[in-house]
Symmetry: C2
Subunit: 219 residues, 2 copies
DNA sequence: ATATTATTTTAGACAAGTCTAAAATTTATT
DNA sequence: AATAAATTTTAGACTTGTCTAAAATAATAT
């Protein structure tokens, strides 16, 4: 088993590699895990000894397949817990990160699979990020802004860009919520506003400004 | 904030004091937290410096009010999580301890109050142990052995004494579970075995040996 | 191509929690 | 009450993860 701290380094490295596509620097990791470059170097040696990363002095780091698997497992747990906190316990989207940061280190495969089942196997978390499956596979269903979809497209709401209370309340009132199915009925050329159908039921109009703050994936 | 390790020591001391009513020995703590007596002494100094315990060399330990409050908070979290695991995620009574042992250290007052609310403010956990309230008060609704009730008494199952898998499986099979209402229909003089009605439904016979391992509170 | 600057690594130290072995203290035995 | 046995504490060391300051390496600028 990897320690709490090791897990945080692996997660940080995974995210930085994802972002840049390149080997990541000691400094970048130091900033991400909020520590000194010297401490990072120490830890990199340790992770390298454990074959969790590919590391050559001064040359940056990438994850080994073993390391990536470990990172994806933590990310899976993080995102499922976030989902649980928002969907089941009614936390706001912006309150859950720090708590999930702790819960992600709880070690029980059975627990996380039960949470997954309880949540009905969600594929994206409340921020629209995809949830790796139990085998650590990321079936990257990339979220797009709702404004990028075309007429007659059907998609699932996966998240928002603007997390402000006023925006979330507006969405609530309009019946737009995470996991709902949206069909683009029409796109008004004049102002790029949308006529959409929610869950095969109500038709609603939303402005382009709103559409640019909603994330969704193709169904 | 107290560390993970400090929390475990406080919890151990609390339980040992509860059990004996006396100051607890270094050795007893060492056994409980599975470490050496020397390590315990080191930690006792630290907890004493933090005013969490009353400690005189060679004289044993009790919790200060500050320490007791901290211990009760951890115990509250532990028992609520156990309740959650059993009631919501369908874990068996005997599977939840190790997981709750980890979850109890997650630090978020808001989280634990939401779990409490979600569970509808339970007063006993799946093992029949009382759950301290949000202020760390233990409103001890005293449980009694089922063998102590009288004919025609009605009570609610709150826990078990024997936590073995075989016993819990026997209870499952007999339809006896936490929170169920039991009416004592008859007490057989010869062997003190009981005829009981479960949830106003099935009648079941249980031996005195079984009744002595079930806890319940008067309804 | 060399000097300057920025980044990364090493060296040595510290805090938390642990250990074993030895010393101090308490408890039990005769 | 003196000795033996058990318990507890101290001393010194180890591990993990951290730090600062200095040295090594790489990147940038002239």
């Amino acid at each position: 088993m990897n320690s709490f701290t090791e897990e945080n380094y692996l997660k940080a490295i995974y995210k930085l590699v994802q972002l840049s596509g390149l080997a990541v620097s000691t400094n970048a990791i130091a900033e991400k895990v909020n520590t000194s470059a010297a401490s990072v170097t120490d830890m990199l040696k340790k992770l390298s000894d454990k074959k969790l990363i590919h590391y050559k002095k001064y040359q940056g780091v990438t994850l080994s397949s073993k390391g990536e698997k470990a990172a994806l497992k933590i990310i899976r747990k993080h995102r499922l817990w976030e989902m649980f906190l928002v969907d089941i316990l009614d936390f706001k989207w912006d309150e859950v990160h720090d708590i999930a940061e702790q819960l992600e280190h709880v070690n029980s495969d059975k627990l996380i699979e039960k949470i997954d089942k309880f949540l009905n196997h969600p594929i994206v978390d409340p921020h629209g990020d995809p949830i790796p499956d139990a085998n650590g596979k990321l079936n990257n269903p990339k979220s797009h802004l709702l404004s990028f979809f075309n007429k007659n497209d059907v998609c699932i709401i996966t998240g928002v860009v603007d997390h402000s209370t006023s925006f979330l309340q507006y969405l609530d009132k309009s019946g737009i919520a995470l996991g709902h199915e949206i069909k683009i009925k029409d796109i008004i050329k004049f102002d790029r506003s949308l006529k959409i159908t929610i869950n095969k039921g109500n038709n609603v109009f939303i402005s382009n400004d709103v559409a640019k703050n909603i994330l969704a994936i193709n169904k």
